[in-house]
Subunit: 466 residues, 2 copies
């Protein structure tokens, strides 16, 4: 057997410190087998630059990548009219198109520094209705796209039952999404052959309080079928949802969820935009992660997340790219912080909870934000990355120290400048489970992915006039 | 004499329409000499993709490029503590460093699709005090950096007299900025040898209501010395400035300015964040442009600009990158719109005034925002670009139709997707005054600019621990 791959990193973020000249061995499962700072080993692969953990992306609907920029009317428009445009697109792609769109997305995510993605997958059935011979067909295409791209995947089939809180039947465009809990569990079991390995985890998702029957929440409460694997749900994204839930269930959606589901540290509450201070404290006390998707939440006019209430209560948040109007971890974090600054009319906004301080490389605003994304994104996905330590996955992103965004930066200014200095990305190389998937800014299959994506999108979008 | 350069554009934005196969001739002054849509000419240079006017950047402090990401403390922090960090940096660079920093910035601006920049220049004197033998030394370095980069420049020496509204003397770190109106006019006159041509315009700037004496405003009111050339001023960026102005002058800063200066369509009011509805209507009635710098205003926690009040009054705004935490026109416009959407909890926010509708390629949110930036940025800089028409400057940006951000996009979705679909830029080529300065994503001197910038910044920033 050949010796395990070894690398020497010029500067590696270990905990909250930049350690110089760290030799790292990676085992056959893609995990860090050893770490030796200050190593003189010049024979192994030398990695220049500032190397950080890859960022987990905790919330993605891959097919929506094709929609980014297509639903930007200048005129009467809302989340709900956006949803109609999204439904029209969602009605179209078959398995080949979804795989092509997901592959392009995953290549883009990797190039930006994400190394794993949680897929909140609800495009289950064929366009126009019916069932695939293999009910897991569409899920398998997502898994295949992730394998081709080389990104870590946590696949979460989504339970989707109702059109609304009153148990209204699904509309025509929602029929592709229909899945009850038993079907979702069956798809999950079916995927065990492709998702058992290190590169692919499995979770489960409930679309939302409005789209899942109370009886299903009861079943999960009595028998937490997803124990040990991630459980994700959209909640309180729009004010209308809050009003309807108050009217029909007598509680706000986050409170209703906490009362009717075994929400704990295995859960991720996606958006939770319209959460009260009391709800934020209760979510923090349960140890659940809030899944923020700042660019999507801004794009859809959801509203500003009450970050101060959550972090003051010691709560946890990670980030996702959701509808993929951005595919960059730092644009998500930058917009999250800028929203808070604009609303507070201040630069000093809450980022770090009362129970901890950030030091060293994490002492600035950029590091504080990234620390949440690394730690809590991995918690939300039950993903063994997000930090450099023996036994963890070797999921890493290398920032080019020679990039103008990082010129002269040291200490915490490296991460601050990555997050806050503009849109040119300094991410040069990306490693997933010990394998380089992006080298010198190029993904190994980016040309093919872009060609396949363009062909798929051209086929979906009706030709319009110029 | 050789024939004038000619190009055929696959798709060119003319007014609000994508015109196919447009042949364009450019005269010796870099202006559009002819436009022929539907041309069969296959012999001239063929330009594939979606070609749009280059975007004017109406507000820049070039030296602050070196600061982006360096002042991001996670803890007590404010505009005013940021300003102290900025002053420490501003105290350091000499002419060579400023030229190197500006060159890097201008290369980055061009690559992102900006084709001219308004430089609000207040770093007049040597580090530590005294005067350069040539009082225009620092201005000349800015002009030289713009020439090297090939970006259009409107240079505006800044009058800077006081530390505050009470006429307080300048502090040590502000002494490099000190310039009275006569000195500013003299620098402007001195620069006539290098700024007379097509590539460099001249304007004048007043730092702010707080840093310029009332007597100077009176002189300008009585004798509008800058008539016909741009006059720029920072105003109402921070709430503290509004409170102090109310306390000391009995009026909010925008109102005070309207009462004490000949504000008209030659003026640009930069920021104007804390403007009342009545002030917005008055500014609109004067025809002045509001210079918005969304990423800087968010980064500094200034507050959210009341865009609805301005556009409903028929007012005008353009965009600038100011402190250069972003160097992208579309990130500025995206953040401007996202801030409005987050505050309104809506996707439908005011973008277009009551007097007009946007059609064709400008019918979406992206096009509506770009239309303001093109038209009013050029108005604020007295720059003859921003639209494709015979007699205008041939300042253009070519969007790569093969870029995944634009896959399948047609009509207004092209501009919407440029603005709203993430951070990977589809800008492939950039032309300034008929000359290509960016080809296939590379600026002709980007390596040298980056090396010079890194050396300058390394020399300025004290080595810190890791």
């Amino acid at each position: 057997m050949p010796p395990p791959p070894a690398f020497r990193f010029e500067a590696l973020l270990v905990g909250d410190r930049w350690e110089p000249d760290v030799r790292m061995e990676v085992d056959a499962a893609g995990r860090i087998a050893s770490l030796s700072p200050g190593s003189p080993d010049a024979a192994c692969e030398q990695v220049c630059g500032w190397t950080v953990p890859g960022v987990p992306n905790l919330h993605s609907h891959a097919f929506q990548r094709a929609l980014a920029g297509l639903a930007e009317a200048d005129g009467p428009d809302s989340f709900w009219s956006w949803r109609e445009v999204m439904y029209r697109l969602a009605a179209l792609p078959g398995p080949d198109e979804v795989e092509a769109i997901a592959l392009q997305l995953y290549v883009e995510l990797l190039k930006a520094g994400f190394t794993c993605v949680g897929e909140f997958h609800y495009l289950h059935h064929p366009p126009g209705g019916g069932r695939y011979a293999d009910p897991a067909e569409m899920s398998r295409r997502i898994v295949r796209a992730a394998e081709k791209a080389g990104i870590g995947l946590v696949h979460m089939p989504v339970v989707y039952e109702n059109a609304g809180l009153g148990g209204e039947p699904l509309t025509g465009s929602q029929r592709r999404f229909r899945l009850d809990l038993d079907e979702a569990l069956r798809i999950r079991a079916d995927l065990a052959d492709v998702c058992g390995g290190a590169g692919c985890g499995l979770g489960l998702a409930l679309h939302s309080v409005r789209a899942v029957r109370p009886a299903t929440f009861r079943r999960i409460f009595e028998n937490p079928c997803a124990a040990g694997s991630p459980m994700h749900i959209h909640v309180a994204e729009q004010e209308r949802e809050v009003r309807e839930c108050l009217a029909q269930r007598g509680a706000r959606p986050v409170q209703w969820l906490l009362d009717h589901a075994p929400v704990d540290q295995g859960w991720c509450l996606v958006h939770a935009t319209h959460m009260t201070g009391a709800e934020a404290a209760a979510v923090a006390a349960r140890g659940a992660v809030v899944g923020l998707c700042p660019t999507t939440e801004a794009n859809l006019g959801d509203g500003l997340f009450p970050l101060g209430a959550l972090v003051r209560a010691g709560g946890r948040f990670g980030i996702g790219t959701d509808s993929h109007v951005s595919r960059s971890p730092v644009e998500e974090l930058r917009l999250l912080d800028y929203g808070q600054r604009l609303a507070a009319r201040a630069r000093s906004v809450p980022r770090t909870g009362p129970d901890r301080t950030r030091n060293g490389a994490l002492a600035g605003a950029g590091g504080a934000l990234l620390a949440h994304a690394w730690e809590n994104g991995c918690r939300a996905l039950a993903w063994d990355g997000g930090t450099v330590a023996v036994g963890r996955r070797a999921d890493l992103a290398v920032l080019d120290a020679g990039h103008p965004a990082l010129a002269g930066r040291r200490g915490h200014a490296v991460l601050d400048s990555w997050v806050f200095s503009g849109t040119e990305s300094p991410v040069r190389d990306v490693m997933v489970a010990g394998d380089w998937v992006v080298r010198d800014r190029r993904h190994m299959c980016e040309e093919g992915a872009a060609r396949g994506y363009a062909a798929a999108v051209d086929g979906l979008i009706q030709p319009g006039g110029r």
